[in-house]
Amino acid sequence: MEERIAQPAAVAAPPTFLRANAEAIAFVVMAVGLAVAPFFTYPLFLMQAMCFALFACAFNLLIGYVGLLSFGHALYFGWASYLAAHAAKVWGLTPELAILTGTATAAILGLVAGSLAIRRQGIYFAMITLALAQMMFFFALQAEFTGGEDGIQAVPRGYLFGLIDLRNDVAIYALVLFVFLGGFLLIYRIIHSPFGEVLKAIRENEPRAISLGYKTDRYKLIAFILSAALAGLAGSTKAIVMQLASLTDVNWPMSGEVVLMTLVGGLGTIFGPVVGAFVILAMQFKLSVVGEWVLVIQGVIFVTCVLLFRRGIVGEITARFKS
């Protein structure tokens, strides 16, 4: 039998008491770890990593649980960060409204791109999402408000709800942690809902799901919009935190990077994308001295993961524990 993306056995096991508990424990460890981490390492790095982790989780919702490889997720991440930055800087909205603006933009873009892309399957789906993202990259390059090569710089962090000054390091960190954990729990909830079960059924056998009476296109589209919106939430938050929205976030290498993070961590695992995002970002951080070689190293990781390490870090660990 053909080996699929995201090993079904790893996720399709019945949710036993122990298994559910293991996930709860892992979640608590992650939340506490992230809450105390700023005492040990750079908070800015952690906040950036959490934004990328949420981005990767959103991407994983599609590839891991519906089997759809979107190769253009930078579109939602990047455009959301542009809109959030613009809303905060030019319209003077409070940060939560700016983030909401970015997220809503991503959801709308997801609706449009998703309804086009789900008209084809498999490999074509990946090519269509990539091409649409490239089109929107050119729009971003030409549009006035994006600031072209400069991007939107010096975005004000502002006052959350008009009250809390986000220039305060603790406040901004708490906001990012809240957004990340909230997004993560939402994705967890989606995956384990009846809706999520239908998504997994589509991944396993779409014709069968259709014959059972499910309108699979509608399920795929909703999953796509959710994934785009969550990617947008990550992008908007990043724009506020880093006070910058730029072409890098909307260009195709960013789409490749989120695929890489998810692949390294483990496709179709809940914690995999988080681990992958931290690993890849830490690597880039450490390797910034070697400059252009980062591209080569990323390529080598891609090739190694696909050939030898398809379950990713978290996938391997769970597989070890089971056997």
Partner: protein, 295 residues
């Protein structure tokens, strides 16, 4: 000089020509992608990087051994094609039993490696490649000026495209290929070495990309990122045409090149995006692609 829709004819035909040139590259690259996909069921994301390598091989052998354009047209595809054979043996052959998406991810990784190495060696600025002596100058056709080199590119890529189509659709070798695409197990039972055929098909598809790269070298600058920008457009071309038909890939490639050229005349802001917009429209109207068969 006369005017068409308020546009001077020289500008119009000039852009049409550029459109045909771009179309030649779209056609050559999407043809290679279609041939590879047919046999290997892999979308070759490193196609753009291999096109760039073709241009760099041509540049390097001219710089260091003084070997000119015409030999490069043969040497570069051979070198890069051989590299393709090695890639297929070392990496791709392990993926045939897996989900098709893994092939896309692996070749994407290979593209990053190739582009990264070239960028480290040569920087990201473009390097000029001098046009061969024999193809300089041009013809005055009365309504426009036709540079010889551009005419050669169009004729050569048309010839390559049509011969590829002929080999695949009209010869015994092509019949084996098509049969192996449909049912490899049965074809092997007839005593044909399908794995070798698969390896050589990948090598050939990659060589086509390198050939396109050599032809592109004198027109565009030779630069590490020349392939990655192109390959995404070629993906859109492939979605529009559908990969089911060789002739479809050729017609779509040239056609979209021309449309893009015309857009540059009438609505220059949209020239970067027109192919993607057409892709969106085709997906709405004919989801299987212009020449595709419904899977």
């Amino acid at each position: 000089m006369f005017e068409i829709f308020g546009i001077p004819s020289g500008a119009l035909f000039g852009q049409l020509l550029i459109g045909l040139i771009n179309g030649s590259f779209y056609a050559l690259l999407s043809l290679g992608l279609a041939v590879i996909f047919g046999m290997l069921n892999i979308i070759n994301f490193s196609h753009g990087a291999q096109y760039m390598l073709g241009a760099f091989v041509a540049y390097l052998i001219l710089q260091y051994s003084g070997i000119g354009y015409w030999p490069a047209l043969i040497i570069a595809p051979l070198v890069v094609g051989l590299l393709g054979v090695i890639i297929e043996r070392v990496f791709l052959q392990w993926l045939y039993k897996l989900d098709h998406l893994y092939g896309l991810l692996l070749t994407f990784g290979l593209a990053l490696i190739i582009e990264g190495i070239v960028r480290n060696k040569f920087g990201s600025a473009g390097l000029p490649y001098t046009m061969p002596e024999s193809l300089r100058g041009g013809q005055n056709l009365g309504f426009m000026f036709l540079p010889n080199y551009r005419a050669w590119v169009i004729v050569a890529s048309l010839a390559i495209c049509i011969s590829t189509w002929f080999v695949i659709e009209r010869t015994r070798l092509g019949a084996y290929l098509r049969a192996a695409t449909e049912n490899p197990t049965l074809v092997r039972a007839f005593g044909i070495n399908v794995p070798v055929m698969i390896t050589l098909t990948y090598g050939f598809g990659v060589a086509l990309a390198a050939f396109a790269g050599v032809m592109a070298a004198p027109i565009y600058n030779v630069s590490p990122q020349m392939g990655s920008e192109l390959i995404i457009v070629v993906f859109a071309v492939v979605v529009i045409g559908g990969m089911g038909s060789i002739l479809g890939a050729i017609v779509t490639g040239f056609g979209l090149g021309v449309v893009e050229g015309l857009t540059k005349v009438f609505f220059p802001e949209a020239s970067n995006t027109v192919i993607f917009v057409i892709m969106a429209i085709v997906l709405l109207v004919r989801p299987a692609g212009l020449f595709g068969r419904r899977a």
